[in-house]
């Protein structure tokens, strides 16, 4: 209900919304929780396990109970979610409806459903787990439900940098930000609330002689006017990471109707030289039988709903606590004209002067009633038990500093007897100072002073001084609190969200799960979406009592990021669908797509698989035709994705001799050589061709897959291994478009666009030249990856698209055309050329038959390790060709090889298959693979077995080069 003349939202615009389909209205500035309470709604959901009716417990992000589905988004905290015009919210975990939930029967079964129940009960019979038990548990337990559809809502992620990040805009945070702002520091002030001010918006005790929210407003106005201060409301700092990096989640559009042009949330990574943590404190509930009925709320939350939002959960309220702060709730309620049925203080020694309501000291609440909402409480104290009729019970077990962020780098908090809680360890996070109630300083005056102190400390580190400032006057009342104790009775809930009771924790201790971390996992305490913010400390106290040890010795569980739930959509914003990874397109991309080419991904690149022609129904038909075309006419293929690295300098030749296993200093200018690159452990890293363009100028090509790795490696060699060499290396992959022109007619085709002599005499096999290509300075390399006479022609990338169209048109006039990756792969397998399918990181130069290329006359990366005897043994798996004995026999990549009559078992393994294709040139399947001692076994028949695909084929072992072993076609 609304309380007359109370609340900062008085006179605000009326906002209609619905809850479970019924229309309600609230005021602008209301959360869904305050608006529902204002409308007299106490029941907002059913609990996770027992389906017990639940209402709002808190007034902040620590809320365990009031989780609702808003516009399809499940598990939204009603205490954080602001309402907007027409917002539709629904309750969760109730069927058929909130007031009448069929699975409420679970509550009657509660004696059987305690901690460890699932582990003990659903173990046997084993096959029942997947088919019977798990589906049942999944239906019965749980909170909201996902739609199962992709979340199309926009999200964002961003970086921010500052001198000082102030986390929390309550009294301590505001004071720290004000001091730092006035000192000229670059400040970000982040607060998870929609309105900054923290507890100053929830209290009535004056600050600086004014209502506390007015003081907050004046400070915020000054901060907003400072160009060096950024205010980030609705932004929860979620995690602390190394080097002063903080994660934060901003609710950008979540407080209004969804808009296509506005992100729902933004995940920030904030890099701050220093931070002041002023995250405040979280109130603890108390344990007593049936302490979870709607209407039972934290005392500080009751005060916040009354003073900030002008609402209360009902006209008759009782207050129950073990500390002085609870008294303030009774005082504020009475001052607002509400009936305070009683102030119940567990402490016999508690004193209250001049109260206008009954004060029961040394008393306990021992039971409650009310099926869907609190109706009455039972109080035991002096003079015997009594029943009080109330709609709302405000409970307080004291305040727990929000130490979470101080623990994210591994520090454990320390026990504080005065607070009966853990407080942050000094220096827990480098560069972060904790201030205010987060540090256990609970009065407003202490918070203000501590904020100023913290600012002065970090500003000193930043080389700035705080200008003289006066501390505003504020309340400084004592905050004494008694230890957390538990009385008799069942259904005393500790973790409301996961339905963990005092009894569960005691059972855990009794059954041997006594470490706090074991207890947590056995009972699931603190493992729900609220991460036990209100539950952890009471649970530690119950466990400590059960074990007969102090809480300090029991310790805490581990606090990990995020502090509040972060949607994956925000963390991965921009990474959905096509934006999942960067896309690299060649200059021929558009033309290929226009021709209907099937594009495939090669790393980040997109390359055509094949170019289908009318009448071709399968990729194989297109691929076979393209292979034929290259073998008998001419084909054009974009090979720009190969890595291209420009290498220049007086020591360029010596550098390449060190990088490659073979020698490049002897390569004449105008020539190209195949090069093999090793890792330092002696295995093959990559291969490719390198051309000598000048005495001090080489151009290296790498495989597409290893381009970035090889570039990093060359930088490593130049800077780390051989800084004595005067050489520069630079990736020019993006700068050049390069096309392969392959086939018997390749020279005729290329001659039509290149103004240079391309005859065998002028440009022999493995020659290169700088040439004019249609008036543009380009390069021609006489190299072949197909076994045919072939050239690669390169022009600056801006001319690539035009040259591609021209080459394709000319090829078609010669009976040829473009070919894609599938044909390229067939052509290279027929010729026995290797790719990373063969040089997969576990093969040596010896294995692939290139051991003689490893020069013994010089040192190179990998030389010493490649000489290890084990890497040169004749029975190593060596590269071979494989051809099915029966022409129609099937080969599969990944299949294993066995002796002809040996069983297909691991110990009989002789090798494996790396590449296969259907070869139109030989009218059979062909394969490459590795076979023990394979080079000496040409002609032998082995058995190929692919257990995954049920393929078994007899194969003849051959030389890996099937086509034109003498190389006449390439050279001539």
């Amino acid at each position: 209900m609304r309380v007359a003349n109370k609340g900062l939202t008085q006179g605000a615009r009326v906002i209609p919304f619905t809850f479970d389909g019924r229309g309600y209205s609230g005021l602008e500035g209301d959360t869904l929780a305050s608006a529902l309470l204002g409308e007299g709604v106490r029941l907002v959901g059913r609990s996770f396990k027992y389906h017990r009716p639940r209402g709002v417990l808190s007034a902040g992000s620590e809320e365990p109970n009031a989780l609702v589905t808003v516009e399809g988004v499940p598990n939204t905290r009603a205490t954080v979610q602001e309402i907007w015009d027409g917002m539709a919210a629904r309750s969760q975990n109730a069927w058929p409806r909130l007031e009448l939930d069929a699975l409420g029967v679970n509550d009657l079964l509660a004696p059987f459903l305690g901690a460890g129940f699932y582990y003990k009960t659903f173990m046997w019979p084993r096959p029942f787990w997947e088919r019977v038990y798990e589906p049942f548990i999944r239906r019965a337990a749980g909170l909201g439900h996902l739609s199962g559809k992709a979340d199309g809502a926009p999200f964002e992620k961003a970086w921010a940098f500052c001198d000082l990040l102030v986390i929390g805009a309550g009294p301590a945070g505001l004071m720290a930000a004000l001091a730092a702002g006035r000192a000229g520091a670059d400040v970000i002030l982040a607060d998870e609330g929609s309105r900054m001010g923290g507890r100053l918006l929830a209290e009535t005790d004056p600050v600086d002689g004014r209502a506390p929210h007015l003081w907050a407003e004046s400070v915020l106005a000054e901060l907003a006017a400072m160009p060096n201060v950024r205010l980030m409301p609705r932004t929860a700092v979620t995690g602390v990471y190394d080097g002063g990096t903080y994660g934060a989640l901003e609710r950008v559009g979540l407080h209004g109707r969804a808009r296509a042009d506005l992100p729902q949330e933004c995940f920030w990574r904030i890099v701050a030289r220093r931070a002041v943590l002023a995250a405040g404190a979280i109130e603890r509930p108390l344990a007593f039988p049936d302490n979870d009925r709607p209407g039972i709320m934290l005392a500080g939350a009751v005060r916040a709903y009354l003073n900030r939002w002008g609402v209360v959960a009902g006209p008759r309220v009782a207050v129950y606590g073990n500390n002085d702060d609870a008294h303030r709730t009774a005082r504020d309620l009475a001052q607002a004209g509400l009936k305070v049925a009683a102030l119940i203080d567990m402490r016999g020694e508690a004193r209250v002067e001049g109260a206008a309501y009954p004060v029961l000291t040394g008393a306990r609440v021992t039971g409650t009633s009310g099926r869907l909402g609190l109706r009455s409480i039972r109080v035991d104290g002096l003079g015997g038990p009594r029943e009080l009729e109330v709609d709302c019970l405000a409970v307080s077990g004291g305040w727990t500093p929000s130490v979470h962020l101080t623990c994210h780098l591994g520090a454990k908090p320390v026990w504080d007897d005065r607070l009966q809680a853990f407080r942050p360890r000094d220096g827990a996070v480098p560069g972060m100072v904790v201030a205010g109630s987060a540090a256990g300083r609970l009065t407003t005056a202490a918070c203000l002073a501590d904020g100023l102190r913290a600012a002065a400390e970090v500003l000193g580190d930043l080389g700035r001084t705080v200008p003289p400032m006066e501390l505003p006057a504020a309340e400084d009342a004592p905050h004494a609190v008694a230890p957390f104790t538990v009385g008799e009775g069942s259904r005393q809930f500790v973790d409301f969200q996961n339905d963990v009771t005092v009894k569960d924790i005691r059972l855990s201790a009794q059954e041997g799960f006594q470490s706090v971390e074991h207890m947590k996992r056995y009972t699931t305490l603190g493992m729900a979406t609220d991460q036990g913010k209100t539950a952890n400390l009471p649970a530690m106290a119950v466990l400590a009592e059960a074990l007969g040890s102090p809480v300090a010795a029991t310790g805490t569980t581990t606090f990990r990021p995020p502090f509040v739930p972060v949607p994956i959509a925000a963390l991965g914003a921009g990474g959905q669908g096509a934006g999942f990874a960067p896309q690299r397109f060649t200059t021929s991309h558009e033309a290929s797509v226009q021709r209907g080419a099937a594009m495939t991904e090669a790393g980040l690149w997109y390359r055509p698989s094949y170019f289908p022609r009318p009448g071709e129904a399968t990729w194989r038909q297109a691929c076979d035709r393209e292979v034929d075309m290259v073998r008998h006419a001419v084909g054009v293929c974009d090979v720009s994705t190969l890595g291209k690295i420009d290498i220049q300098g007086p020591d360029a030749a010596a550098f390449l001799d060190f990088v490659y296993a073979n020698t490049f200093s002897t390569l004449p200018r105008g020539k190209v050589r195949y090069g093999l690159m090793l890792r330092e452990d002696g295995f093959v890293m990559d291969d490719g061709t390198t051309a000598r363009l000048g005495d001090r100028h080489y151009l290296m090509t790498t495989t597409t897959a290893a381009a970035a790795q090889v570039m990093r490696h060359l930088d490593f060699v130049a800077q780390v291994l051989r800084p004595d060499l005067d050489v520069q290396v630079l990736s020019v992959t993006e700068q050049w478009a390069q096309f392969s022109v392959a086939g018997p007619w390749s020279r005729e085709l290329l001659q039509s666009v290149v103004d240079a002599d391309l005859s065998d005499a002028a440009l022999p096999y493995m020659g290169c030249a700088e040439v004019e290509v249609m008036g543009v300075r380009g390069r021609v390399f006489r190299i072949s990856f197909s076994g045919e006479r072939a050239f690669e022609v390169a022009v600056p990338a801006r001319h690539g698209a035009a040259l591609w169209r021209l080459l394709v048109a000319q090829a078609e006039s010669l009976g040829g055309g473009p070919y894609g990756l599938e044909a390229l792969n067939v052509l290279r397998i027929e010729k026995g050329f290797i790719t990373h399918a063969e040089i997969h990181g576990r093969t040596t130069a010896f294995d692939i038959g290139m051991e003689r290329m490893v020069s013994k006359a010089k040192d190179c990366v990998g030389w010493a390790a490649s000489r290890r005897p084990g890497l040169l043994e004749e029975d190593r798996e060596q590269l071979v060709g494989l051809r099915p004995v029966a022409r129609s026999g099937q080969l599969t990549a990944g299949a294993h090889l066995y002796g002809r009559d040996a069983a297909a078992t691991r110990v009989n393994g002789q090798g494996y298959v790396t590449s296969v294709c259907w070869s139109p040139s030989f009218d059979t399947s062909l394969g490459l693979g590795f076979l023990k001692g394979g080079r000496a076994r040409h002609g032998e028949v082995v058995r190929l077995v692919d257990a995954m695909r049920s393929v078994e084929t007899l194969c003849e072992v051959t030389d890996p080069v099937f086509l034109d072993p003498e190389g006449g076609r390439m050279r001539g």
Binding site: G243, P430, D681, F716, Q719, P723, W863, A864
Partner: protein, 86 residues
Amino acid sequence: MRVTCPYCGERDRREFTIQGDDTSLRRPGRDAGAEAWHAHVHLRDNPAGRLREMWYHDPCGAWIVVERDTVTHAVHGSVPAREAAR
């Protein structure tokens, strides 16, 4: 984590590729023998505390030697590998 590239300044660790400790700065001679090469290629200390590591700053192509505490993750400075290697 923040790492300082001597050329570009302080950057987020996502801009870097890390390649283990700085053993590679002490590459044995070609004929140093199997034991020396085995140690160089395969054996690494794994100290709890300060460690000199090889980092590559992908955007600028610089290899740098970063001194980092493996316990606290604190970064205690960095120098170009080219200088450390001389």
